[in-house]
Point group: C2
Chain length 420, copies 2
Amino acid sequence: MQTDTEKTQAACAPPQRSRESEAVAEGSFRLARGMAAMTGSRLRSLIGRAAGPGVISFAVGLPAAELFPCGELADAAAGLLPAEPRSLQYAVPLAILKEQIVELMAARGVACRPEQVFITSGAQQAVDLVARLLLDPGGEVLIEETVYEGALMALQRYSPAVLALPTDARRGLDVEAAAARLSSGARPAFLYAIPSGHNPLGVSLGSDRRRALVALARAHRLPILEDDAYGFLSYDGPAAAPLRALDDRWVIYLGSFSKILAPALRAGWIVAAEELMPRLSALKHAVDLDTPAFSHHLIAAFLAGGGLARHVARLRREYASRRDAMLAALADHFPSGVSWNRPTGGLFIWVELPRGMDATLLLEGALATEGVAFTPGEAFAAAGGGHNRHCFRLCFSATPAEQIDDGIRRLGRAVAAHLA
Amino acid sequence: MQTDTEKTQAACAPPQRSRESEAVAEGSFRLARGMAAMTGSRLRSLIGRAAGPGVISFAVGLPAAELFPCGELADAAAGLLPAEPRSLQYAVPLAILKEQIVELMAARGVACRPEQVFITSGAQQAVDLVARLLLDPGGEVLIEETVYEGALMALQRYSPAVLALPTDARRGLDVEAAAARLSSGARPAFLYAIPSGHNPLGVSLGSDRRRALVALARAHRLPILEDDAYGFLSYDGPAAAPLRALDDRWVIYLGSFSKILAPALRAGWIVAAEELMPRLSALKHAVDLDTPAFSHHLIAAFLAGGGLARHVARLRREYASRRDAMLAALADHFPSGVSWNRPTGGLFIWVELPRGMDATLLLEGALATEGVAFTPGEAFAAAGGGHNRHCFRLCFSATPAEQIDDGIRRLGRAVAAHLA
């Protein structure tokens, strides 16, 4: 991900000065390599407009705020603070929360011990820490060619050589392509994957591919970072067990409370080999010293009250009905020539326009004329290529079912106009 | 900070295997450079024992948990959650909190605008983000030879060439030495300093040194990372204004709610030039996606109620009396030949044994025979040297005044035994 322009020492000029004179301008900062190029993109500014008034946005992967268990968390806070001033103090990671995570993992089909659990400020930090642990600058990583942009951002910090693997919205990661890469000599530090409720593709890997992937990890001693942020959100019967259930050494599991409880509590976890824990701990100490322990006390109190299973069951029912509403609306309002998948979990549906179409252009039109938004495929392109420029991601969780039909109707009009 | 052994690709063996065979052992992880060496130290395990039952610990820089405004924060949570479910959602940084920080900075003598404020998960993350922004791997940084170990850990990630500056517990950072380094051609990415209530030295820079330091920054276009985590905690009349009050371009100010409100809320801030904000934002997105916004809503509610000024006034009174209790106990119970300073702010007193003594050895004895703990100077040695091996840090904030005398009496006995 490193470009030639990033390799030169760059400078950041104050706003009133031209970029040309920045290196010598009085008052300019010398920035580290790669930092000068790190500015806002057209795509980001478009998606920022999706938050404007009157816009129906399917753009951002948000859980439904109106479903947050506010009352129960308020009770937890009220009970906690007078009794436990230490919930506000610097602290080692909360032992009770690790035990509760062990139970949660058991519900997901994974056996582990508290000593294998590392608590993070969300799954994003987990990706950053594990990448720092395993990846040398310039080292190789295997990821899907269409992948969560936050993972790309975390990895980018280490200027990796990205080995992009074919993937699609019907069957997911192409495991045979991964095998071929490894057989032809690739030595990646790890493979990053979202096997369940993929972001952005919505797809969940079938059990054959799961087994094949784990066999590959074992044969090549290849760590797999399994991002399971959406794993608890399955809508059509029991979810497939995570990869970690098939291998307790090479699969490093990343979990999150963001989608099943609340993002702003910033709590995620890693399940990994115990000998990695002291190193993760030292790395976390370096980047932010401590977890947001007060949030973690709140979560522990909420879990101790048994609230999570009820809450997740409610999310499953509600999100399944929003998914179904979106699928029905797509069938009703979208022109022929456009296709989409039917996810069994997660928050997203992946839409493919006819090849040659440009979803980012479509977004500009949809915002301007219909007040509706989504995220174009190019936001999720691992290798920077335009292989998914004709695709886009719809998030169905953040919009009440009754608004979904209206939003998809508007978007269908914008798509029809774009195809015309 | 990079050693030869770190430059070779290292492996991390499962516990049952010997380190010698790790690189070829089945089941071993290939770790990134420097990670194999990242394990627990004897010093850390000693300090861990300081948390044991019956131990009076002056080791860790903790605010007093019994003074946390638990009731007011509980009220804030109770008021917030039912009314503001969005306090639990992914969100852009809280605008109201930025405005409140602007007011707080004004109380500290610094004029700034909300557009110059960046909210972080504590000051530790602020150091990490600004280091990433300004420092290339292997680049030079200027820091005091005796310095907060968390800053060292944050910088270590970028394998800097550390240019260590003389400092002492009476007058602080030697600005002339910094000037000499710069005049002789050093090109550091920045200088990291704690001008007020230094950790671990307890010292605050006088106004002459503050002015000289800022003049140096301007002359050499040298960014100064001013860590002001203790700046609000001054005990003998008004505190000196921070460096940022003297220069609003080259001084990058780092603030924290950890010492003036509660560490487990994980909230700090950066005040810096506005053009750095989009880059800080992208960097933060990569490492942990989002701030712990729920905590930030709580803080904003607490600040809106006017509670902070009262709370800080209370902390100043209480910590001043703990400092005075510790100074009196040191005079009463310590043998001659040992010296210490009288800090006007912060949480720490710096003690110097006669040269040639080893404070880490003293700690082992003090724990074993007297059940009392502190942090040896070697924990804070920037260049890894033993220049402060005969020194140690005492934290006076975390222990009620009536226990301080008992703890210092015990420690005085251990010191006398060590000197004998």
